[in-house]
C-alpha cells in the first residue's frame, strides 16, 4: 500500500505559489505515471502537473481557483484498497506541516462531494471544500440585493480586507452591517460570506480560471500605442478584440478599456483573488529549505552511501591553468572548472557512475550533465553545466560563472538547475581539507572537493613537496559498487594530474 501526494510544484526559483486551474481527473479515476493531472497557473506560466506514480485519485484537496503555496498538497493518489481513514490521516499529516490552506481552515461540508466513492464519514475528512466552492453553480448576477444588509450609511471608513470590500460591492452589502472577526478587527471575507448566507443569499462562485489566461491569439503584429499594449497584457485582452481608433489606425488605451468593459459584462462571474495569506505561513521553511531538507533526508534514508577518497597532485594542473589564462583575455579558468571538465571526461570513461536511479530504472546518461553546488543566501542550488564532456575549459568556465552569478540573485530558470547526472560540491575555498557530501537524488554520486594545499609527499623514497587536493566520492551502493567508484576516482585522478590527457 502506498499513498502519495500530488503537490504544488515549483517551476523556477521565483515561484512561491500557484493557482489551481483545471483538474483532468475526478476522484475515483485511475491515473498512470506521466499522466497530466492538474493545470496550475503562476504569474508567469500555465503548466500541467504530471503524475510521478500510478494509483487511484482518492482525494482532491485543492479546488479550481484556489491559490496554494509551493509544496502544498493538491490531491492524494493511492491504491484502490487503501482505507479512507488512511487517506484522511495522510492528508492530516501533510497538512500539519502548515502548507495547506484547506487544513488550516477546515470548513464542514454541507454535502458530500457527489463523485466521491468514499462513504460520507470519510468524505467529511477528505473532501474539505472551502465555503465558496460549496456555493451554487448557477450563474448569478454580480450584485445580489440582500435587502436589510444593503441599507446603511457610507461604509468607506469601515475596516475591511480588500477582498471583503470588493465582495461587498458585488453583493450590494453595506459593510456597516457585518460583524468583524478578521485580523485587527477587520471585516474578513468569511465574515461577509457568513452574513450573506445567514440572510438567505447565495454565495458567488469563484471565477473560472480561464479569465486569467492570456490572449490566445498572437497580437504582436497589431498596431497599438505602448500604453495600450501594456494595458491589454495586464487585463488579458487581445489587441485583436479591440477597436483601433488611435492615430494611424493604432489601438489606443481607450480601445482596450472599452474591450475590457465589454468582456466584464459578458462574464457573469466576478474575478475573485485568493484569500489573504495566514500569518503563520511566514514561519514555515522556505521552499528551497524544504526541498533541501526533504531530498537530503530521503537520500540519507534510502541511498546506502559509501565513500572513496583519493589525494590528487595538482601542480601540473596549476601550470596548465596559468598557460590557458595567459593565452586569452576571455579565459579565466579556475581549478573548479578543471574539476568539472575532468569529471566529465572520467564519466565518459566510466559511464557506470553517470547514472540516475528512478524506481527500478537506472538511467545511464549519454553526456555528462554536471551539477555544481553554489551556496546562496537561502541555502544552496546546483546549476548544471550540460554536456560538459563536449565543451572546452574556457566555455565551461564562462558558463559556470554566468550560472553562479545568476544563482546568487535567484535568476536561474528551472531547467538550468533541475536534472544533472553527477554533482560536484567544492568547499576548498573555505580551507576545508576534505569532507563527505550527501548524494542529491535521483543522482547516484557526488564529489566533495577539498582545498589544494602544499603537503609533503614521498616519491621514490624521498620526501618532496607537492600541491595536493583531497577528493571524496559519495556513491549510492544500490547501483554503484566499490570497484566502480574506485575506477572512476582513478580515472579522475589521472585526468587531473595529467590535464593534457583530457584532450584525448
Amino acid at each position: 500500500m502506498t499513498i502519495s501526494a500530488i503537490s504544488m510544484p515549483k517551476w523556477g526559483m521565483e515561484m512561491s505559489e500557484g493557482l489551481v486551474s483545471d483538474w483532468h481527473f475526478a476522484i475515483g479515476d485511475t491515473i498512470q505515471a506521466g499522466d497530466d493531472v492538474v493545470d496550475v497557473e503562476t504569474s508567469k506560466i500555465v503548466n500541467t502537473v504530471t503524475a510521478t506514480g500510478s494509483g487511484v485519485l482518492r482525494a482532491i484537496t485543492a479546488q479550481s481557483g484556489e491559490t496554494l503555496a509551493v509544496g502544498a498538497i493538491l490531491g492524494v493518489l493511492a491504491d484502490a484498497d487503501t482505507s479512507d481513514e488512511e487517506i484522511a490521516a495522510f492528508i492530516r499529516s501533510k497538512s500539519a506541516s502548515g502548507t495547506s490552506e484547506v487544513a488550516a481552515e477546515p470548513v464542514a461540508p454541507t454535502q458530500p462531494a457527489p463523485q466521491s466513492p468514499a462513504p460520507p464519514a470519510v468524505a467529511a475528512a477528505v473532501v474539505e471544500l472551502p465555503a465558496r466552492a460549496i456555493a451554487s453553480v448557477t450563474p448569478l448576477p454580480a450584485a445580489v440585493q440582500l435587502g436589510a444588509l444593503a441599507a446603511g450609511e457610507d461604509d468607506s471608513q469601515v475596516a475591511a480586507s480588500p477582498v471583503a470590500r470588493r465582495l461587498a460591492a458585488q453583493y450590494g452589502v453595506n459593510l456597516n452591517n457585518i460583524s468583524a472577526s478578521g485580523r485587527h478587527g477587520r471585516v474578513s471575507k468569511s465574515d461577509l460570506e457568513a452574513a450573506v448566507s445567514a440572510a438567505g443569499g447565495k454565495l458567488i462562485s469563484p471565477a473560472p480560471a480561464t479569465t486569467h489566461s492570456r490572449p490566445a491569439v498572437d497580437d504582436s503584429l497589431i498596431k497599438a500605442t505602448p500604453v495600450a499594449r501594456r494595458l491589454a497584457q495586464e487585463l488579458g485582452i487581445s489587441l485583436a478584440d479591440c477597436r483601433c481608433s488611435g492615430d494611424r489606425g493604432r489601438v489606443s488605451k481607450a480601445d482596450v478599456e472599452a474591450a475590457a468593459a465589454l468582456q466584464r459584462k459578458l462574464e457573469i462571474f466576478p474575478d475573485l483573488p485568493a484569500d489573504e495569506p495566514e500569518p503563520y505561513l511566514t514561519n514555515t521553511m522556505s521552499g528551497m529549505r524544504k526541498t533541501i531538507a526533504a531530498r537530503l533526508q530521503q537520500s540519507k534514508q534510502t541511498a546506502p552511501h559509501f565513500r572513496v577518497q583519493v589525494d590528487v597532485e595538482i601542480d601540473n594542473l596549476l601550470a596548465v591553468r596559468q598557460q590557458i589564462n595567459a593565452s586569452s583575455s576571455q579565459a579565466r579558468v579556475s581549478v573548479n572548472d578543471f574539476i568539472i571538465k575532468a569529471c566529465a571526461s572520467a564519466l565518459m570513461q566510466v559511464p557506470g557512475v553517470n547514472v540516475q536511479l528512478e524506481g527500478d530504472t537506472i538511467r545511464q546518461f549519454r553526456h555528462a550533465d554536471i551539477s555544481v553546488a553554489v551556496a546562496i543566501d537561502e541555502g544552496l542550488i546546483t546549476p548544471i553545466v550540460r554536456q560538459a564532456d563536449t565543451k572546452g575549459l574556457i566555455a565551461i568556465s564562462q558558463e559556470t560563472r554566468d550560472l553562479a552569478t545568476r544563482a546568487k540573485i535567484n535568476r536561474l530558470q528551472a531547467d538550468e538547475f533541475q536534472g544533472g547526472s553527477f554533482c560536484i560540491s567544492n568547499l576548498g575555498m573555505y580551507g576545508v581539507k576534505q569532507f563527505d557530501a550527501i548524494i542529491n537524488p535521483p543522482q547516484a554520486a557526488i564529489l566533495a572537493v577539498g582545498s589544494g594545499e602544499q603537503r609533503p609527499v614521498v616519491k621514490n623514497g624521498s620526501l618532496q613537496v607537492a600541491t595536493v587536493m583531497t577528493l571524496t566520492l559519495s556513491s549510492d551502493h544500490r547501483i554503484i559498487d566499490g570497484a566502480l567508484a574506485a575506477q572512476f576516482m582513478a580515472s579522475l585522478k589521472g585526468f587531473l594530474e595529467q590535464p593534457a590527457t583530457m584532450l584525448g
Binding site: P226, D247, R248, N325, S329, Q330, A331, R332, D377, Q398, R401, D402, A404, T405, R406, K408, I409, N410, R411, M429
Partner: protein
C-alpha cells in the same frame, strides 16, 4: 582576501548607480573610491558649477531689475559666499551618496584600486593594501581635463576647472581656452559676475557639438554681452610676467597677443585609464578611453567599463544609464544597449542650450530626407512676460516616417524642457502625435509645440 559578487571602481554617477542597481538585484557589492563619493560630477563638475551659475543668474536679474520697476543703490557682492554655497551643496550631496551606500548595504573601500589579475583587485590606502576578489569588476574611473600642449596649469594664473570653481577674487581680464560646454559655462558665469571675458575656440564655431544654428545664436548673445569670441584661433603660448599673462594666439595665419589676469583651460577631457593595471591584463583602449561593446564589456572576461572612461559623450546621465544596463546584463536581465541618438545634452550658460538626437549637419551627412521646424521665442507669450525672449526651438523630423530625429533648443529653462522631446523619441512618437499633444498656455514649452507644427508648415503663431 575578501570575496564579493561585484566590484565597482569609482564612485561617480556611473559607479555609485551601478553599485546600487547591483545591490538591489542581490549582488554582494563593493564600491572603491579614492576621493569623495559622487565623483567629478557632484564634487567638481555639474553640481557645483550649477550653484555658481545660479549666482550669475541672480547678478543678471539684479542688473535687469530696473525693467520691472526696482531701483536700488550699489549692490555688494561677496564672491567667497557664492563659492561657499557651491562647496556646501557639493559636500551635502556627497554625504547623500554615503547614505545611499549604507542603505543599500554596499561596502565602500577608500583607496586607489589596481587590477592585479583577472577578477582580483588591490586597494591601497595610506600604505595599507588589501585584496578584493569578484567575478565581475566594473571600471567607472571617469575622466579629467585634457592638457593643452605647451600650457601648464599652475593653479595661480592658469586655472583648471577646480581653480575656476573656487576663485579667491574675480579676475578682471579672463581668457578661456576652449568653447565646449565647460568653456561657455565659465564664460557666461564670469561675464555675469563682472569679468571681461575672451573665449577662444580652435574650430570655426563655439559649442561645436551642437547644431550650427545654435552655435551662431549663442555667439550672437555672447557678443551682445561683450564676451569676446575668437573662433578658428589657437593659443600658442602663455607667458607670465609680473602677474600678467600674455597669450600668443594664431588665427588664419596671423599672430596676435593679448594680456590677461587669469586663464582657464577647458580643451576637452581624457579618460582615467592609468595605474589601473589595464596593460598587464591586456585591456584594449582607444585614444585614452577603454573600449567596450554595447553592454559595456571590455575584451577581458569579467571586466566592464562605464561612463566617461568608456568614451564619449561625457555626461553623468549617460554614465548612470550605462551602469544600470551593464549590471542588468550581468544579472541576465534583458538589457537594452544605449542609443547614442537619444542621450540629451544640456549646457547651462545664459541662454541655456539643450539638445537631443541628430543635428541638422548630422542628418545631412547620413543622407536622411528631413524636414525642419523652427520657432522663435520672440513670439512666445511666457518668454516675453519674463523678459527673456531670445531663443529658438529647432526640430528635425524624418520626412518619410515622421520620426523625431533631433531637437535643439536655446533660451530660458530649455534644460528643463528637453526631456519632452526625449520621451517622444523613446516612444517613437512622430510629428503627428506631438501635434496632437496639448501644451499648456502660457508656457515656454509651447514653443516646442509650435516648432513641431512649423516642421509641418502649420505653425500658428509665426
Amino acid at each position: 582576501m575578501n570575496d564579493f559578487d561585484l566590484i565597482v571602481v569609482g564612485g561617480g554617477p556611473g559607479g555609485y548607480v551601478a553599485a546600487i542597481r547591483a545591490a538591489q538585484l542581490g549582488f554582494s557589492t563593493v564600491l572603491v573610491e579614492k576621493e569623495k563619493l559622487g565623483g567629478v560630477c557632484l564634487n567638481w563638475g555639474c553640481i557645483p558649477t550649477k550653484a555658481l551659475l545660479r549666482g550669475a543668474e541672480v547678478a543678471h536679474t539684479l542688473a535687469e531689475a530696473g525693467r520691472f520697476g526696482f531701483e536700488f543703490g550699489p549692490v555688494n557682492f561677496d564672491l567667497a559666499k557664492l563659492v561657499g554655497h557651491s562647496r556646501s551643496v557639493a559636500n551635502r550631496l556627497s554625504q547623500g551618496i554615503d547614505y545611499l551606500m549604507k542603505k543599500n548595504n554596499i561596502t565602500v573601500f577608500s583607496g586607489q584600486a589596481q587590477l592585479v589579475d583577472n577578477g582580483l583587485l588591490e586597494v591601497t590606502a595610506a600604505g595599507a593594501t588589501q585584496r578584493l576578489k569578484a567575478p565581475h569588476i566594473i571600471l567607472a574611473t571617469g575622466a579629467r581635463a585634457r592638457a593643452l600642449p605647451g600650457v601648464e596649469v599652475d593653479g595661480d594664473y592658469i586655472w583648471g576647472v577646480r581653480e575656476a570653481m573656487t576663485p579667491d577674487a574675480l579676475p578682471q581680464r579672463l581668457l578661456i581656452i576652449g568653447a565646449g560646454a565647460i568653456g561657455v559655462e565659465f564664460a557666461s558665469l564670469y561675464n555675469d559676475l563682472g569679468s571681461q571675458v575672451t573665449l577662444v575656440e580652435a574650430v570655426d564655431r563655439i559649442v561645436p557639438a551642437e547644431d550650427a544654428e545654435i552655435s551662431k545664436l549663442l555667439q550672437d548673445q555672447f557678443g551682445k554681452r561683450k564676451i569676446q569670441v575668437l573662433t578658428n584661433t589657437l593659443v600658442g603660448s602663455l607667458n607670465i610676467r609680473e602677474g600678467v599673462v600674455t597669450a600668443t594666439m594664431r588665427s588664419n595665419g596671423q599672430e596676435s597677443q593679448g594680456e590677461f589676469d587669469r586663464v582657464i583651460v577647458a580643451v576637452g577631457i581624457t579618460g582615467n585609464i592609468e595605474n589601473l593595471g589595464l596593460e598587464a591584463l591586456g585591456v584594449t583602449t582607444d585614444r585614452g578611453f577603454i573600449k567596450t561593446d554595447a553592454f559595456k564589456r571590455t575584451n577581458v572576461v569579467g571586466l566592464y567599463a562605464i561612463g566617461d572612461v568608456a568614451g564619449p559623450p561625457w555626461l553623468a546621465h549617460k554614465a548612470s544609464h550605462e551602469g544600470v544596463l551593464c549590471v542588468e546584463k550581468i544579472a541576465g536581465i534583458a538589457a537594452k544597449p544605449l542609443d547614442p541618438d537619444r542621450i540629451p545634452g544640456c549646457t547651462y550658460c545664459r541662454p541655456q542650450i539643450a539638445s537631443v538626437g541628430l543635428s541638422e549637419q548630422q542628418a545631412r551627412q547620413r543622407g536622411i530626407d528631413y524636414s525642419v521646424g523652427r520657432f522663435n521665442l520672440s513670439a512666445n507669450g511666457k518668454a516675453l512676460a519674463i523678459g527673456d525672449s531670445e531663443g529658438l526651438v529647432k526640430t528635425l523630423f524624418d520626412k518619410h516616417t515622421g520620426e523625431l530625429l533631433g531637437a535643439h533648443m536655446i533660451g530660458p529653462e530649455v534644460t528643463e524642457q528637453i526631456q519632452g522631446f526625449g520621451i517622444a523619441q523613446q516612444l517613437e512618437a512622430t510629428a503627428h502625435e506631438l501635434t496632437h499633444t496639448v501644451f499648456a498656455h502660457p508656457s515656454l514649452s509651447e514653443a516646442m509645440h509650435e516648432s513641431v507644427l512649423s516642421s509641418l508648415g502649420i505653425a500658428l503663431h509665426q
